[in-house]
Structure formats: C-alpha cells, structure tokens
C-alpha cells in the first residue's frame, strides 16, 4: 500500500498565537477591572489595618545597620529588630505590601494561566498544530507578561499613594536593585510555580505543597547535619533564593543591598537560569502515561 | 423528484437510488431532459456518502438511462422509451415478488394465481397495511 501525502497548507505563525495566549492567560476581560480594583482596595485596607493593629514600623534604625543584618533563612529579616518606638514609614510599608502582594499573586497566577486545563485535561492545548514545548512556553510567557504588568501596577499604586500622602522620605535610600527586584522576584516565583503546572500531574497543588514540605525538610535536615554549611548557604545572598528574591523586600529593605548589587545580580542570574532550565525541561518532556 | 431510501435495508444504497430513479421515470415524475438532483443535494438529503450517489448515477449512465452534461448536471436521456422503462421496473418488481414467494415456499404458479385472485378483487381481507 502506498502512502498518500498531505496537501500543502500554511503553518500557523507565533505572533498571533502569542496574542491569543495573552488573551487566554488574562481570562475574561470584563472581570479584569474588578480584579485590579479589588487588589487596590485590599492593599489600602491591609495597609491601614496593619498600620493600626501592629503599628508596622520599618524603622530608620534598621537601615542604619547596613552591612551586618543577621538574617536567618526563613525569618522575616529585620522584623526581628522591630523598634516600636522608632519612626513609622507608611510609604515604605506600602511598597512592602505591594511587593508581597505581587509575590503572592505570582505564586498563584499559574492557576489562572492553566485554568480549566490541568495536565490531565490538556488535550485541546496539545492537539494544536504547533510544537508543544514552544506552545507551553508561549503560554507561560504570556502569563508572565501579566505578572509583570500586575507587579509594576501594584508598585506604582503604592508609590503614588506614598507620594500623595508625602511618605517618600525613605525612598531615596532604596537602591535600584530593590526596585528592580520588585519586578524580577515575582517573575522568578511565577516561573518556579509554572514548572509545576507545565509538567505536573493531575494535581499541581499537591506538587506545590509537596515541594514546599520537601524543601523545608532539606533545609531543616541540612541545618541539623551540617550547620556551618547551612549557615553559609543561608547567609549567601546568591545561593539562598529567599535572600535573593525576598531578602531585599523583607530584611534588607533599605540600604543593605547598596553594597551587594553584584551579589543581587549574581543571585538573579543563578536562580533565573535554574528556574528557566527547569521550565524548559518541564515543557520538553511529558509523562509517559499521556 | 424525491428519492426515498431505507438505510436499514439489505439492498445496497446505490441500488436503491437506481431503483428510485427508474421508478420516477416509469411513473412520469422524471421526464426526458429533466435533471436529476445534484450529487451533493442527494447526499445531504439522504445523509449518505456522495460517492454512493455518484456510484448510482454512474450505474444509471452506464445503463443509458441518464447522461451527464459536463458542468451542468445529470439529465434523463430522451431516447429511451418509457415503455422500456416500465418493463424494466415491472421486471424488478417481479424479481422481488418471486424472491419473497420463494422465501415463503411458494412456486411460480401459486404466486400468479394469488396475484390474479387479488387483482380481481377476490380477497376480502382488510388487514393489509
């Protein structure tokens, strides 16, 4: 029996596909305005209540202790060194909250990106006539665009609010690395979470939790078995991803990173390489079962 | 013309279409130079494969009952005497009747007798459907 051959047809191009994925990862457009509004309202409410209830201080004294902030791996950094009598800076707190909100959002955003399409029901996505690894990455990239947009918007809202109420006195002491990290950290967290959703199983949230507990176990065991090594890792702004990504936000919020710009870049490079490689591997391999 | 087929019948569908065209010609609903419905129309109407319709039309053309005018459709051939067509139709009816008779174990004479009796109004049964 001879083989028939396909007629020649045009192949799809990536630009319109990327645009389609941008729409797809955003979801229903009419809901978006409400999402933004809710985030802003939540932020203001949280800011106000936090300020009142805890008297959130990010005191100026913290920033004076620039070079030797002791930060344990999972601590919230300088919050240890709260000085209730010190100066309260709502402006800084607003930026802090914006950063925290976008980190949380970027961790959860893959759920939006893959909504309705857990790995076990992704036939439609995979039946499309394009290379699957590229298709996965296009979807993740499109979702990443929204993570960036949302993160920048949140920080902008915070900065504008601070400016409006004249609480910008400490901004001058923040380094460019700090501001840049408000964008890069959510993107990296989003990339990490996306790995789970791209490859995953039918239960990505189980993977997320499993990963979290496994990591905790490694950290705890590591700290018990080889405390010196663990301390080196924990203190390294490059090797400890928490310090690289969240450190500037929590612990070394002010001037600490001025002297560590090089380390910050190294940390970003290291962890973005690791996460992107993980994503690439996740997109290029598929469970045998499928 | 309306083509009627029975998809649950044992008779191949293309032959049923041939039968139907013959019938239409015999009873006069299709006359010389009338066009047959297009292959697509017939296929869509009957929910059947267009190839089957084509096969039927080819068969009709082979028998000289219709001819194809390129780009215009399939037309009933005028030369053919409708008496011939009637004869052909009667023949296929006869075949069916004979097969049925045989299935029921009757021979030709018994069948003919029954037909005569029925045609003469000899039967008073009313349960015919």
């Amino acid at each position: 029996m001879t083989e028939a051959s396909f007629p020649a047809v045009e192949t799809p191009t990536w630009t319109p596909i990327f645009k389609a994925q941008l729409r797809r990862t955003l979801g229903a457009r009419r809901k978006l305005g409400w999402v933004f509004l809710a985030i802003i309202v939540a932020q203001i409410v949280a800011l106000g209540s936090l300020g009142i209830v805890f008297g959130l201080h990010i005191s100026t004294e913290v920033s004076q202790d620039t070079t030797q902030a002791t930060v344990s791996p999972l601590s919230l950094g300088s919050l240890d060194e709260f000085d209730m009598g010190g100066r309260v800076d709502e402006g800084l707190a607003a930026v802090w909250l914006a950063g925290a909100a976008s980190l949380l959002l970027s961790l959860l955003w893959p759920i939006r990106v893959w909504a309705g399409e857990p790995a076990s029901r992704r036939d439609y996505h995979y039946a499309m006539p394009v290379r699957r690894s590229h298709h996965d990455l296009t979807r993740v990239l499109a979702g990443g665009v929204w993570v960036a947009v949302v993160s920048i918007s949140l920080v902008l809202v915070a900065v504008l609010t601070a400016t409006l109420f004249d609480h910008t006195s400490l901004f001058s002491r923040l380094t460019p690395w700090f501001w840049l990290n408000l964008l890069i950290a959510p993107l990296l967290v989003y990339t990490l979470a996306s790995i789970v959703y791209v490859r995953a199983s039918s239960r990505p949230s189980a993977w997320l939790w499993g990963g979290f507990w496994a990591l905790s176990l490694v950290v705890t065991t590591g700290a018990a078995v080889a405390p010196d090594l663990a301390r080196t890792f924990a203190r390294s702004p490059v090797l400890n991803p928490i310090r690289t990504l969240i450190g500037p936000l929590f612990g070394e919020i002010a001037a600490t990173t001025v002297t560590q710009g090089g380390d910050q870049i190294l940390g970003w490079l290291l962890w973005s390489t690791i996460f992107l490689a993980g994503l690439w591997i996740a997109a290029s391999t598929r469970p045998k079962r499928l | 013309m309306l083509i009627n087929i029975n998809q649950a019948s044992h008779r191949p569908i293309y032959l049923q279409i041939v039968d139907e065209v013959r019938r239409a010609i015999a009873v006069g609903t299709l006359q010389a130079e009338d066009s047959l419905p297009s292959v697509r129309q017939t296929a869509v109407d009957l929910r059947i494969n267009p190839n089957t319709v084509q096969q039927a039309y080819r068969e009709l053309e082979r028998e000289g009952i219709v001819h194809v005018r390129r780009g215009r459709g399939t037309f009933v051939t005028g030369l053919r005497d409708s008496a011939d067509e009637r004869k052909e139709l009667a023949r296929s009816l006869a075949i069916t009747a004979l097969q049925e008779a045989q299935r029921h174990g009757f021979n030709l004479d018994e069948l003919i007798d029954a037909l005569r009796l029925e045609a003469a109004g000899g039967s008073t049964r009313e349960d015919q459907s």
């Binding site: 028939a4 729409r23 039946a127 499309m128 006539p129 079962r289 | -």
Partner: protein
C-alpha cells in the same frame, strides 16, 4: 479467525499503523494494531465501549504515546512530525470539554482559528448557523450536546485533509444528529477529506461509511471495504430436513436455528452461493447482505464465540 477479514485495503494510505501497542498497567488498550485507512475513505471504527477506539485516535494525534509500533498519517510520523500532522487534522475528542470556560463561543472559535491559517470563516459561520451554535454563550454554560456542536465546527471549518471524529454525535438529540450527518455528507462533497469516525452507534453512520473496522479488546478483528462486505458477508436462511448434519461450505460466523429453519451468517467467496448451499441439502429461502450495523454485530459475535 478468518484471515481475509484483514485484507489490505486498496488505495493510498491516509492513516496506517503498524503493530501499535499500548497498555495501561495490566490493561491492554491497543494490541498490535494494524489500522489502514485509505485516502478519501469514510472509515467507521466500531467497537464496544473500552475497546480502544479513543486511545487509538489519541495516539494518532500523539496525545498519548504507544508503547511500541508506529502510526503514519499521510506518510508522516505521528510522533516525529506532530505539528505538521495535526495541522491537517480536524478532531472531535471523546470528552465534551472546552477547557476555555470563561470564553464566549465566538471568542473560542476566534482563538481556534489562529492555529489554522486555512480556517474558512464563512464556512464556520454557516456551520454555527445550521448547528444552532450561539456565539455569545459562555463555554461554561454549555450542555454536553452544545459543546459537541462547537467541537464539530472547530473540526470542520479549516477543511482538514483528515477528520478524526470520536463519537461525534454523543450527547446530541436525534434532530441535531441527523443534521450533523447531513453536514458531514456535504463536507465530503465540498472538501476532499478522509474521515475516521469512531462510534458504537453504527446505524447513525450507515449511509456514510465505506470502510469498516471492528475493534475489540484493543484488536482489529476485521477491517474491510463496504463493497467487500456487501458482496461476501451474507445471511442465508433456509430449511433442512430432519437429521441433516452437514454444514454450509463456507466459514460460518454465526448460526441460529429454530426447528428446521436455519440462518447462517457466512463469509463467502463473493460468487453466487444458492446452488452450493442447495447441494448440501439446504432449501434456500433467502440470501441477503448485511447492513453495517448487522455486519458489526455478526463480526463481534464471531469474535466472542471463537
């Protein structure tokens, strides 16, 4: 087992698999499957639920990987040339699931069309009209049958060279089923297409199918052209005298009798059989070919009894 039930089909192959095997744990989904769909065929793949139909279609799209063996579609490999293969396929999956729950149907079709540059929007519009698909409905609000209709539009509107329809009428009401069959018939005439329909409701596709593949427990127990079936798979009815203990001189797929009256489903050589049956002492009353549905039933029955 009658080997002739697996005659290679004539014509250029649109889809061919060789020794395709797939198991899930201990359960065998595909058992050395040699599927063979000629170009331009309307191939009806039939079998009971769980026979492997869905697995087979998903393997052709590389949505699942076979453990061994391979599948060629129009000369391309299902696994190596995935994108090129899938760009020529219109697929109605087994699950009535649109994934894009927050999209309107119109938005979904626009999204879909991006992936198929040859998408015919006029045709899509006609399809949505005749299938009564409401473009403004949200995908999450659609019933099973409405999802099926959207999936049919998605599969047909780019006029692919190959249609893979997995239970395409599943969940549709009788009226729409009938309309779908009309649309498929029209599609066959307007676009050169090879169709592989998986179904367990053969009577619905009785008029469309010209090839039949019967799948059971992951094995193709028969793969035949319709005309071959019409010619060779016959039901003979007749009577025998008391004490008759011969058999028809052909492979018997099934045999039933009540008293003296017998019915045999026979795989014949395609030549007239009445005289040869009579020679064994059978008083032949009728010899008929089967519908696709009847043939399916006979072939499936053969498999269980042998």
């Amino acid at each position: 087992m009658i080997s002739e039930l697996h005659n290679p089909l004539a014509g250029a192959a649109a889809v061919s698999t060789s020794a395709l095997c797939k198991r899930y744990g201990t359960q065998i989904a595909l058992d050395c499957l040699d599927l063979n769909v000629p170009e331009g065929a309307v191939y009806i793949l039939v079998g009971p639920n769980g026979a492997g139909k869905t697995t087979l279609l998903r393997t052709l799209l590389d949505l699942c990987r076979a453990d061994s063996g391979q599948a060629q579609l129009f000369g391309l490999s299902s696994t190596q040339d995935g994108p090129a293969v899938r760009s020529q396929i219109g697929y109605v999956p087994d699950s009535p699931d649109l994934s894009f729950t927050d999209y309107k149907v119109g938005e979904l079709l626009r999204h879909h069309s991006v992936y198929f540059p040859q998408w015919d929007s006029d045709y899509a519009k006609r399809l949505t009209t005749s299938l009564e698909v409401n473009l403004d409905s949200r995908c999450s609000t659609l019933s099973k049958g409405q999802v099926r209709r959207v999936q049919l539009v998605q599969a047909l509107a780019h006029r692919p060279a190959l249609l893979l329809l997995d239970e395409p009428t599943d969940g549709l009401d009788p009226l729409v089923r009938d309309r779908v069959m009309g649309l498929v018939a029209e599609h066959l005439d307007t676009s050169p297409t090879t169709v592989l329909i998986s179904t367990h409701l053969v009577h619905e596709v009785e008029g469309l199918g010209d090839h039949l593949g019967v799948l059971r427990n992951g094995r193709l127990i028969a793969q035949l052209e319709r005309s071959e079936l019409d010619r060779r798979l016959l039901v003979a009815r007749g009577e025998v005298s008391d004490g008759w203990d011969l058999a028809p001189p052909f492979p018997v797929l099934s045999h039933t009798h009540r008293g003296r009256e017998h019915a045999w489903t026979l795989w014949t050589d395609g030549q007239p059989i009445e005289d040869r049956l009579a020679a064994t002492g059978i008083t032949v009353r009728s010899v008929e070919s089967l519908t696709l549905e009847g043939a399916t039933r006979a072939l499936l029955a053969m498999e269980t009894s042998s």
